[in-house]
Point group: C4
Chain length 191, copies 4
């Protein structure tokens, strides 16, 4: 769903993609949604995410894009990822049908676990479907350098998926009334 | 006051909000104010802040927004927050009526103290009112991942609440006089 | 090739350049390339790089720019560089003719190795040419402060050479439908 | 000189200012200068700096702005500052008349030295004037939180005083030729 709505005409798409032995992993940011409130200002209605997409290998350098699985990291989950120490692990649980009648039918879990010798991490995605009685597992090894890319890019994306860049980037206003011309402690302290 | 003036028509609002057992905590940046000086240039008159808002829980998933308390973090207080080690704590004192006749009537103190096992922090706000003889206390547990979000978002916001982005973002000028075409040590060293 | 296409009319060029005893080193970012897909959206076709240029000293404060050697760091190689610990080293191998008939004729290797006492690094570039039977070696000592500049500038450049800034910087949209006016846990949790 | 040229009509000014017992310290970024080359592109001719201004206290909350001393930190000096460990110190030497006939008449030295208990730093500026046989010394204590502000703001400013933001911020181009529509390892590997 996210993919379709995002990749529409005129929009730009860029990702960080890792092709590994058993599966591929793609990461890219999705912006938050704002809406107009009754008071006339604009408010973030839905935060952005860092979208992770996993899809399986089906041969040497061949991958099945039709079997892709999405996992959308919220700001707090991104915070967990970027603060992960070299021997830390973290786990996230998602239910894509939460608060609908289908709640609990599909359970997704994503784990980042340290690889041997702190040389990187394994990202393990499990998708349990109670209707089809299937459990898909996708695992991607992430090197230390690749994780540094994810950490840096996710730290960069975090204020943007939180909408803080749109608060900060709005039109700056300068008051016409004249202010003091040189630094003065009373002035600085009264800020 | 900050809330009203900021959420005016056409402006954008986005925050990071945590709903916990006893209280909720919201954080968002507020831009600095610039004014024109007698010399004709524009100067920051009032620095921006990272605004924290606390308000109490009054039942399961129910919170009383009318009892909200503001605490505006200055750039240096933001610096204290983003450099907090896992076992460090910090405390800030504010008097909302400083330098007015009501000085000392209300005393606000905000503490960030490490939770057990360095698993995060407690943010404790105390608001003492000498007129009404009340002391409101609001406490919010912040997980390690949530604090990583606050740290990353506050580090991002810091140069913006200091106004440095507006100094840096102003119109870039390119001199028409031709310069050298290739790197040369004399040139580089004379920069 | 990269140099020519980048330094065309109306474009801007800035680099970080170090002139040392045996060689000089220049670093600058190159943006990714986007193209329009059949579906109408724009997709990153070629990621950007942090370009490193080495050229030899031929006397006191004299350097031979004609003998310059390029080494383009991919996002993952930049990730490796910015996560380098004070006693870590890393090595990258490039073949400028990869997947052409000339594959394997030229082999480039770049190493970052810690200097004595963790006071910085040596950047060592080796270019082996099997046709001309030559092996050029260029070495530049990088102080701790200079490496901090490279680390900070490369961390800044990373999301840009990955194209994430263009995904994030595209036109922000605000829905006209009115949203809630104050924070509410159901609202926040359903994000 | 820097102050006059920067604070001209229509320009914006913002700084981080510390008023302490013996002196005050102000920090703000100054953008690099670009010029047009004979080849038609624009090239950074002079890098930007983080300007530090020191001026002495002459009483309680009174400071003498006329006695201000400038110290302009180059990108590498900023790199040194932002990578300073809690028990590290660094020292910079400047000659404002370097490469002129007055070279050596004025010697400026700036030291950042750790305060007791790693609670912050002292910034000590010394300006020796051989003509007037004077040696002015200005010292400002910087708390851990204040240094975190300087570190964060200087890390933010660094790519901008290096001109990398202007390289990265120039008009992005999208090729009209259609590209592939889904991730493919051959495509990704050939980047």
């Amino acid at each position: 769903a996210e993919s379709t709505q995002e990749r529409s005409v005129g929009r730009k798409f860029a990702s960080y993609t890792l092709f590994k032995g058993k599966a591929a992993l793609q990461a890219y940011p999705i912006l938050p949604k704002f809406c107009t409130t009754s008071s006339g200002y604009s408010r973030m209605e839905k935060n952005g995410v860092v979208m992770l997409v996993f899809w399986p290998a089906i041969g040497t350098r061949k991958y099945d894009w039709e079997k892709k699985q999405y996992f959308a990291l919220s700001p707090t989950e991104v915070g967990s990822l970027v603060s992960l120490g070299p021997s830390d692990s973290c786990e996230f649980f998602h239910d894509p049908s939460m608060k609908s009648s289908a709640e609990g039918q599909i359970k997704k879990s994503l784990t980042f676990a340290p690889a041997n010798g702190q040389s990187g991490y394994y990202a393990n995605l499990s998708v349990m479907n109670n209707l089809t009685k299937t459990n898909e597992r996708l695992s991607v090894a992430i090197t230390k350098a690749e994780f540094a890319v994810l950490r840096t890019a996710c730290s960069y994306a975090l204020p943007h998926i939180m909408g803080w860049d749109q608060v900060i980037g709005q039109e700056k206003q300068t008051q016409p009334k004249p202010g003091v011309d040189r630094p003065h402690p009373e002035f600085e302290w009264s800020r």
